[in-house]
Amino acid sequence: MLIECRDVCLAYENHIVVKGLSFTVDSGDYLCVIGENGSGKTTLMRALLGLKDVSGGSIEFRDGLKMHEIGYMPQQNGAQRNFPASVREIVLSGMTGRSGFGLFYSKHDKEEAVKCMERLGIYPLRDRSYRELSGGQQQRVLLARAACAAGRLLLLDEPASGLDELASEELYGLISEMNRKQGVAVIMVTHDVNRALRDATHILHLHKDETFFGDKESYAQCSVCSHHVHAGGCREEKCD
């Protein structure tokens, strides 16, 4: 077991976003977090990363999981899109957390970064400026940076937002591959329920009153899913 959340409560200034949330993540799992806007998906992500304190309950790292073994791919913000940095610089920055008090990148760090870039097919772009890349390429760069940092766990927040179908298909493919081939556990926030049901092993559905956590087979038969159909979050045929 990598992460155990017990009765977690998350709140912003007296406004409770998530309460009574319990779930676990094992190594090799692929957990998709779904739910409507405002249901607390991103807040949960921030809490897992230690960027936000929990108001109740506990989030524990098990099995010796360390902060610097977690890779994180945040939603892109506007300031980043025009940032003057090369692809290589950004991917390498994924290694800074791991190097601890080390100030410079070691040879090993650089080789790891090259491997990540090759795996995600952005090695030919390594000297290009980030701001000149297409949206899909930028997302890949951020994924490569996360992959550099991810020893055992990868957290993704809407990785495919703003991408066209082809580019998001490719990106999801790369994420599944990292999960299957390198055995990296994945926790992904997504709007795309169809995609979640295809790749994930487990589903966490956040909803005001009922929260669902379980493997995807039991999710397909669960009643919370029907809420989601009413909310217009997914197409009916996939929720049968």
């Binding site: 960027l51 980043q80 090369s86 940076r145």
Partner: protein, 281 residues
């Protein structure tokens, strides 16, 4: 040619000009380096806010007959840390927090100066007096420059990670707040010393112009940092020489020289873009 050389020799034979040059070049180097991160994180107005606070503190120091730098530097450092905290916590949006703090500090300073008859020259705080830089200020600027350059040289990779994506840096186990705190303190000292150079009304130009020029021209972070530092030093040096030659205020010359260089950078970028498109199309 010899005439121009003679003028330069004339300029550097004056000890106040040498002090002005050394301090000007060092402060602009610091401002340009720290500015890269401030501009990229959309915190450029922090420099402006801090300078107004610095003005208030200097006015208060003059009224109390205290040493101006000893009062202004701690006050501005504390403000920098508070502003940083405030924008991070999201209680008040960063830009409105800065607007409130800076206008109140300016009002306070003006009031103090007008109520106490200290004979303080408002102009020299507002618009700088680079030719009146003291020995102490020059030494302080050397210490400051060494700290800033060390920060960038030693923590270069960490600074990049924190600037590009603070959340990611924190999430992967880096102490982003430490780096933010250090750069806030150094920015505060830079702003107080920079007030001497170009005054509290124009100091943000030292922080904002060089990074903007560099961001226009460069494609990598490393180049951006270097070009920003070089262009900062060059604009201030050129501005001082021009001001000496045409006998005009140094601050105005420095700011307008920066503007001219920025405009040139924009034009270069445009032309380059057209050449690229021409080639590709």
């Amino acid at each position: 040619m010899t005439e121009a050389l003679n003028t330069l020799i004339d300029i550097f034979s004056l000890s106040f000009m040498v002090r002005a040059f050394v301090t000007g070049a060092l402060i602009s180097l610091c401002a340009a380096l720290l500015g890269v991160n401030l501009v990229l994180k959309r915190y450029s107005m922090i420099g402006d806010g801090l300078s107004h606070v610095g003005f208030g503190a200097l006015a208060a120091a003059a009224a109390m007959n205290a040493a101006p730098l000893k009062v202004a530097i701690p006050v501005v450092i504390i403000t920098a840390i508070l502003l940083l905290r405030l924008s991070e916590s999201g209680v008040i949006k960063g830009d409105s927090a800065i607007a409130v703090v800076s206008s109140c500090a300016l009002a306070f300073g003006v009031l103090v100066v007008s109520l106490t008859s200290t004979g303080v020259n408002l102009n020299s705080y507002m618009f700088g007096s680079i030719y009146a830089v003291s020995e102490d200020e020059m030494i302080l600027s050397i210490v400051l420059t060494v700290s800033v350059v060390l920060l960038y040289a030693v923590f270069y990779n960490k600074m990049f990670a924190v600037t590009f994506d603070e959340n990611f840096a924190r999430a992967t186990g880096m102490h982003a707040e430490v780096y933010n705190m250090i750069s806030a303190c150094l920015t505060a000292v830079t702003v107080v010393l920079g007030m001497r150079l170009v005054g509290s009304l124009l100091i943000s130009s030292l922080i904002v112009f060089p990074p903007l020029i560099a961001i226009r021209l460069c494609s990598t972070y490393r180049k951006t940092v270097i070009v920003s530092a070089v262009s900062g030093v060059m604009c201030v040096s050129a501005g001082i020489i021009i001001s000496f030659l045409i006998d005009a205020p140094a601050s105005a010359c420095i700011v307008l020289t920066s503007l001219a260089v920025y405009a040139a950078a924009c034009i270069i970028k445009k032309l380059k873009g057209q050449v690229c498109r021409h080639r590709n199309g």
